[in-house]
Subunit: 211 residues, 3 copies
């Protein structure tokens, strides 16, 4: 239970930092920072808990909201010191992803779900908070950036945890492998441009323009 | 129960195809295809189950996730053969709508809800997965396209099912009527331009610009 | 219980008006008006109830859907008489916010939650319906408008209710204080430009462009 709680706290903290950085790019006031930080920090886990019919984690333990609030206030007063807020957002988001995916995996395992649900819960907890942040702040969603690994990292990490579990490793070790896989792949994609081949379309078709 | 399951499977399959087509328009990699396909395929039903406090259908039966994944992989390797991916998306979406609305209606009936909730569940199950797809992929939401019937088709179909039920017809027949109504109206709108009168605004007012 | 129901009805009515006004700015047909009106009217409360594991309020009492539908039809036939639909949307939204925040606070209090959850439920019920409306209709979300108080009003109102409760005032009085605080702050922001200092960024950095 302590491991679960620790992972939830860590992912809340780092996702809140990314939410606050996105708020700084939208030039909000301090309450706006807190709002976006909390949305990003608890969005994925809330969805996970609602789908699994668990008590939502921040209703059970509102201290996580205080953590997200503090992170937002900190960023409000210090973000101008960053050379590139977008680059900081990218890297914090990579850390948060690497913590949130195992957090989702751990909860689904603790609920005794089968491996497909474990996989999906890892991806939901990892990707959905950031997706809500990007949709609300009108940023290009990181899950949609062409030629970058993002959902793939979450998927590979969750798959690694499931595989390690099947191989008989302890849950703690499996979660560590998961986090390491997610972060390595995501960092490789940001720093070295690792990618999968993307869909090759023909020249623009006569379809409707995108908005 | 078999009817419910069959409808859920069919709507998952066809909505997954539309999600993958939207992913192809955003030029994602294969994991991105799977992500958007699953979001579209299970989004509406997940919302329906969460609101009705049922176990979410793909947690109870994760095979639907495999169906959506296969559909996404299929589209990834074959979409370039389509003459117009947007047109294919439109027509697959029409099929999916015609299957998902009765799927929502059937579940609400099985839960013993009154007709207003049955109506709304049909519309949520039919429209929300596609709406999530469009918001995440930054497409103009089909529910918002001016001069096209979309939500109206879902509404008319669900109303038809409720009416048929009140007239004493069997549930299976009522759902068939529902599907036929939805598809006929939607197809008529795509192919022949059927529409309702839209709101007539005055010349652009001095309001805030839309983003 | 009557107070809770009354607050829910009032917030549904006024949020439905704002949803229908947003639909008129997107030039939808009458079913589109109803769809956006219902989404806006029940979005925040649905999220509140799903997170608190209560029965969703409009499933328990579908009459609220009829209220939202009537509001949508009314706006469809009368919106052209408004001099500025955007201005009307802003002011109706301010009223709705001032009713929905106490509605969220009241429910969380009735569920016996601690003050942090009460605070957040007030903000979710107040802000999320309008946020869904703005995301779906592609408007600049009011929660993101620079140099305006919005989330701040919801926060201050919910905080006022919690404070009044701790000071020993009756729930009804605390909710009245909450509504008055929200409306005063929001109205002051619209009419007189009240605001908090926003985040001061340096000149545009080399980060990714927003979409």
């Amino acid at each position: 239970m302590t491991l679960l709680t620790g992972l939830d706290y860590a992912s809340v903290l780092v996702f809140a930092l990314t939410g606050a950085l996105a708020a700084s790019r939208s030039q909000l006031d301090v309450v706006g920072f807190i709002f976006i930080a909390c949305l990003t920090a608890v969005g994925g886990g809330t969805l996970r808990d609602a789908i699994l019919n668990r008590e939502v984690f921040w209703v059970a333990d509102p201290v996580v909201l205080a953590v997200a609030t503090l992170a937002a206030v900190l960023v409000f007063f210090t973000a101008h010191r960053l050379e590139s807020r977008y680059r900081a957002l990218l890297w914090f988001d990579a850390f948060a992803l690497a913590v949130a995916v195992p957090a989702g995996v751990a909860v689904a395992l603790a609920e005794g779900k089968g491996w497909p649900v474990v996989l999906v819960m890892g991806m939901i907890t990892g990707c959905m908070g950031g997706l809500m942040r990007d949709v609300v702040c009108n940023e290009v969603p990181l899950v949609l950036k062409q030629g970058e690994l993002y959902v793939t990292c979450a998927f590979a990490g969750a798959l690694g945890a499931v595989g390690a579990g099947h191989a008989g490793l302890e849950t703690g070790v499996a979660l560590l492998i998961c986090a390491a896989l997610v972060f390595t792949l995501r960092a490789g994609s940001i720093a070295f441009g690792w990618r999968l081949p993307v869909y090759k379309s023909q020249p623009p078709s006569s379809g409707a323009p995108k908005r």
